[in-house]
C-alpha cells in the first residue's frame, strides 16, 4: 500500500519511457468517457489470473475456488506496485497477456486509465448496484466521476488519524492537540524536553498529499478532457508552510520513514506522535515493541477548531485489466473478494487489509480493544475518519514521477536549500512537462 521510490524507480522510468512510446503509437489512449461495453458471461468453466501483493491472498481465494468450481482463480503474488508490478502490468497489457485481475492502488489508477489499461466493468452484473456497499470516497476513486463507468472495485483504504504517546503527554502535562495550531505549540514543548513531536518523511509524498486532502486541497482534476494540475493551491501552500515552519525551527526529525533508525526512534520514545493511516497500527506495534500499551489514537489535528475532516494515505483496488477474456466473471470475483464478510475477515487477518467496504465496521477484528494501544478500540476512530474523507480527491496520471520530483524537493528543503513550497512548485512544473511529454492534455 505504501509506495517505495528508489533506484528501481529510476530503472523503471527508463523502461516505461520505452513502453509509453510504444503505447501512444497504439492510438486511443486519450479516449474519454467510453460507453460501458456489454458485459456477457462466458460459457463453460473459466480460469482467471489475479496478481496481487497482499500476503495471504491465496488463502482467501481458496475460499472462493471451493465454492465456485466454474470460475477458478489463480493468484500470483509479486512485489508491491511501484516496486515493479505496475510496470509489469503495463508491459503485459501491451503484449496482450496481462492477468485478468490486478491489484492497483488508487493513486496509480489514473495512470492505468489514461493508458487504456482498464476494462470498464460498469455493465457487468452487480457492479452498478455495489456502490452503496463501499465508503463513498473509495467509489469515487474507481469511477473517476465518469458517467456509466466503473474501472475497479475498491479493496482497502487508509483513513488517517493521530497515534500519540498517551503516557508522555500526560506525564508532561501537555494537552493532546486537536488542532494543527495546538500541534505546533505542543511541538515546541516536546522539543524542550529533548524529543520530537513527530518525523517529517521526505519520501512519503503521498502522506503529505493525505494532509492536503484533509485540508480540502486538490492536486489534480479532470474535466473529461484536460488534466488540471494544482500542487500549489492555497490549501497545499498552507500545509507546506506549516511543516516548513516546524522544519525550520527543528521541531520535527527527518529520518527516512520505515527504516531501522526510524523504528528505533519510536521504540526509544523519541517520537511522541505519528499522523498516519489505519495500517500504521501494525507498523508501530512491530517497530516499537517496547512502547506497548503506551499509545492511543485520536482524530487528526484540525485546521479549524471543531472540524472533523480526515485525510487518507494509501489504499488499493482490484481492477479488471485490459484484454481480459472474462470481464463478467472477473468483476463477480472482485465484488465477492471485497464485500464478502468471510473474505474480508481473512484478508484482514492474513494481509492486514482495512477494507473499503462499509461492512468492515462489523468485522470482529475491528470490534474489540487493542492491547498495544492501551486497550482502546482504535478502529472506531478510523471508521469515523473514513467517513470524513473528502470524496472528490483525484490522483494524477503520473504519480510516480510527481512523487519522485516532490520528494527530491522535500529532501533539498530538509537539507536547507529551498522550502517545501519550492518543492511543490517544482513538482507542479515537472508534472505538467511530463503530462505534455506523454501527449496527455493539460489545462493551462
Amino acid at each position: 500500500m505504501r509506495a517505495h521510490y528508489g533506484k528501481v524507480t529510476a530503472a523503471f522510468a527508463m523502461i516505461s519511457a520505452l513502453a509509453l512510446s510504444g503505447c501512444s503509437a497504439g492510438g486511443d489512449s486519450t479516449e474519454a468517457g467510453a460507453e460501458a461495453a456489454p458485459c456477457e458471461a462466458s460459457e463453460g468453466p473459466v480460469t482467471l489470473n489475479f496478481t496481487t501483493w497482499v500476503p495471504g491472498m491465496d488463502k482467501v481465494v481458496e475460499l472462493w475456488n471451493a465454492e465456485n468450481p466454474d470460475i477458478q482463480v489463480q493468484v500470483q503474488t509479486g512485489p508491491n506496485g511501484n516496486s515493479g508490478t505496475y510496470q509489469n502490468f503495463f508491459n503485459q497489457i501491451q503484449a496482450g497477456n496481462a492477468p485478468d485481475l490486478g491489484q492497483v492502488e488508487y493513486d496509480a489508477l489514473p495512470n492505468f486509465r489514461v493508458q487504456d489499461g482498464l476494462e470498464n466493468i460498469a455493465g457487468c452484473e452487480g457492479v452498478a448496484d455495489a456502490q452503496d456497499k463501499f465508503v463513498d470516497w473509495t467509489w469515487g476513486q474507481v469511477t473517476f466521476g465518469e458517467e456509466g463507468s466503473v474501472y475497479a472495485v475498491p479493496q482497502d483504504s487508509g483513513p488517517m488519524a493521530m497515534y500519540y504517546r498517551a503516557d508522555l503527554f500526560e506525564a508532561a502535562g501537555i494537552e493532546v492537540p486537536t488542532t494543527w495550531e495546538e500541534y505546533a505549540a505542543a511541538a515546541e514543548q516536546i522539543k524542550a524536553q529533548g524529543s520530537y513531536i513527530t518525523n517529517f518523511p521526505k519520501q512519503d509524498v503521498n502522506w503529505f498529499a493525505g494532509l492536503v486532502w484533509q485540508n480540502g486541497g486538490q492536486w489534480f482534476a479532470n474535466d473529461g478532457e484536460n488534466w488540471d494540475v494544482n500542487l500549489t493551491s492555497p490549501e497545499s501552500e498552507e500545509v507546506a508552510t506549516y511543516w516548513q515552519d516546524l522544519l525550520s525551527k527543528d521541531l520535527v526529525s527527518t529520518l527516512p520513514s520505515f527504516s531501522d533508525e526510524w523504528n528505533a526512534s519510536f521504540n526509544e520514545g523519541q517520537q511522541w506522535t505519528w499522523v498516519s493511516a489505519v495500517w500504521g497500527a501494525t507498523t508501530l506495534s512491530d517497530g516499537a515493541p517496547d512502547t506497548a500499551g503506551k499509545w492511543a489514537v485520536a482524530p487528526m489535528p484540525q485546521w479549524e477548531d471543531g472540524g472533523e475532516t480526515a485525510g487518507n494515505w494509501g489504499g488499493s483496488s482490484t481492477a479488471v485489466l485490459k484484454g481480459s477474456d472474462h470481464p463478467a466473471e472477473a468483476a463477480k470475483f472482485a465484488l465477492w473478494l471485497n464485500t464478502d464478510p468471510e473474505a474480508l475477515a481473512l484478508a484482514n487477518e492474513l494481509g492486514g487489509i482495512y477494507p473499503a467496504a462499509k461492512s468492515a465496521t462489523e468485522l470482529e477484528a475491528f470490534a474489540g480493544g487493542v492491547d498495544y494501544y492501551g486497550g482502546q478500540n482504535i478502529y472506531e476512530v478510523f471508521a469515523d475518519a473514513s467517513s470524513n474523507v473528502d470524496p472528490d480527491f483525484t490522483w494524477g496520471p503520473t504519480m510516480t514521477q510527481t512523487y519522485t520530483d516532490v520528494s527530491d524537493g522535500f529532501g533539498a528543503a530538509i537539507g536547507g536549500s529551498g522550502t517545501l513550497m519550492d518543492a511543490l512548485e517544482n513538482g507542479q512544473q515537472k508534472t505538467i512537462d511530463s503530462l505534455k511529454a506523454q501527449s496527455i492534455p493539460v489545462a493551462e
Partner: protein, 310 residues
C-alpha cells in the same frame, strides 16, 4: 578479475625470477616496511569495508524483529543461537516453504544455466580461436559488442519476444536468456588461443579423432581454468540476476531467491514480521555463492599455476 591477464603476468614473473628467484626468496621481498604497511592498511580498510555488511547480516539474522533496532547493531544478543534457529525455522516454513522453493529455483537457474552457458561459450570461443573461416573477426566483434549492452536494457524486448511465443511466466523465460555469455566467449577465445597448441590438434586429427571428440577430450582439459572462471562468473551473474525474472515471472513458485526476497522486502510495511525473514533469507541466499567460490577456487588457482610454467 580475468584469468588471462593474470596468467600472462605470472608467466612474465616466472620468466624473470628464474635467475634471482632463489636468492630473493631467501632474503625476502625488498619493499620497505613503510610501503608494506601502507599496502596492508589499504587492504585492511577494504576488507573491513566489504566484510562489515556481511558481519551485520550475520549478527542481525540472530535477532527478532524488535531487537534489530533496540540492540547493538554489530553484536549478538544473549539468546542469539535460539533466535537464529527460530528465524531459520520461520524462514523455511513461511508461506508453505516458499523460500526453499526459491532457493531450489535459483540453484536450477544458476547451476544448469551456468553449466550449459559455459559449454556454449567454450565451444564458441574455441571455434573462434582455432578455426579459420571467413567472417571470424566480424562474429567475434559482434559478440564482443554484446558485452557492452547491459542486460537490463534487453529485458523489455526479451519480454515482448517471449510474449509472442507465450513463454513468459515459465522457467524458460529466465533460463534461456541466461545461457548466453558474450564475456565467456571472449574469455574462452583468448584462453584457447593461448593454451591449446595447434600442433596438438593436428596430432589428434592424424590419430583419427573427430573435431567434437578432440574438443571434449583434449581441448576442454587444457582450457579447464578458463572454463571454471566462466562457470563461476555465469553462476554468480544468474544467481544475482534480478531484473529479468522481475519482468518475466508472475508466479511466486517460479521466482529465484533474489526476486522472492525483494518481493518480501516490498511488503514489510504491511507485514512487519517479514523484516527478520528478509535478513535471514539474504544471509542464506549468499551461502551457495560462498560455497561455489571456495569449492572451485582450488581448480581455478591450480590451473593458473599450471599455465604459468610453460
Amino acid at each position: 578479475m580475468t584469468a588471462a591477464p593474470a596468467t600472462a603476468s605470472k608467466r612474465r614473473r616466472g620468466g624473470s625470477s628464474t635467475a634471482h628467484g632463489a636468492r630473493n626468496r631467501a632474503r625476502g621481498p625488498r619493499q620497505s616496511i613503510m610501503s608494506r604497511s601502507a599496502a596492508m592498511l589499504i587492504m585492511g580498510v577494504f576488507t573491513l569495508y566489504f566484510l562489515t555488511p556481511i558481519w551485520w547480516l550475520l549478527t542481525t539474522s540472530t535477532k527478532t524483529g524488535g531487537e534489530i533496532t533496540s540492540t547493538a547493531p554489530l553484536w549478538f544478543t544473549a539468546d542469539s543461537a535460539e533466535t537464529f534457529l527460530a528465524n531459520l525455522g520461520r524462514l523455511f516454513t513461511y508461506g508453505d516453504g516458499l523460500f526453499g522453493r526459491w532457493l531450489l529455483n535459483s540453484a536450477l537457474y544458476a547451476g544448469v544455466g551456468a553449466l550449459i552457458g559455459t559449454i556454449i561459450a567454450a565451444m564458441c570461443g574455441y571455434a573462434l580461436a582455432k578455426y579459420e573461416f571467413r567472417g571470424r573477426e566480424a562474429i567475434f566483434n559482434i559478440v564482443l559488442s554484446g558485452v557492452l549492452v547491459p542486460a537490463t536494457a534487453l529485458a523489455l524486448p526479451l519480454f515482448l519476444i517471449f510474449s509472442r511465443v507465450e513463454l513468459t511466466n515459465t522457467m524458460w523465460a529466465v533460463f534461456l536468456p541466461s545461457l548466453v555469455s558474450p564475456f565467456g566467449v571472449y574469455l574462452a577465445r583468448i584462453y584457447a588461443a593461448a593454451s591449446v597448441p595447434g600442433e596438438l590438434l593436428e596430432a589428434a586429427r592424424l590419430d583419427g579423432s573427430g573435431e567434437i571428440r578432440t574438443f571434449f577430450t583434449v581441448s576442454t582439459r587444457l582450457m579447464a581454468p578458463a572454463l571454471v572462471t566462466i562457470f563461476l562468473f555465469q553462476f554468480v551473474a544468474i544467481w544475482n540476476n534480478f531484473f529479468l525474472p522481475l519482468i518475466m515471472l508472475r508466479d511466486q513458485a517460479l521466482f529465484p531467491v533474489t526476486l522472492g526476497l525483494y518481493a518480501w522486502n516490498s511488503q514489510i510495511s504491511q507485514i512487519p514480521e517479514l523484516r527478520s525473514l528478509v535478513i535471514v533469507g539474504a544471509l542464506v541466499s549468499i551461502l551457495p555463492l560462498i560455497i561455489a567460490f571456495l569449492a572451485l577456487q582450488r581448480f581455478w588457482s591450480s590451473g593458473l599455476g599450471a599455465g604459468g610454467v610453460k
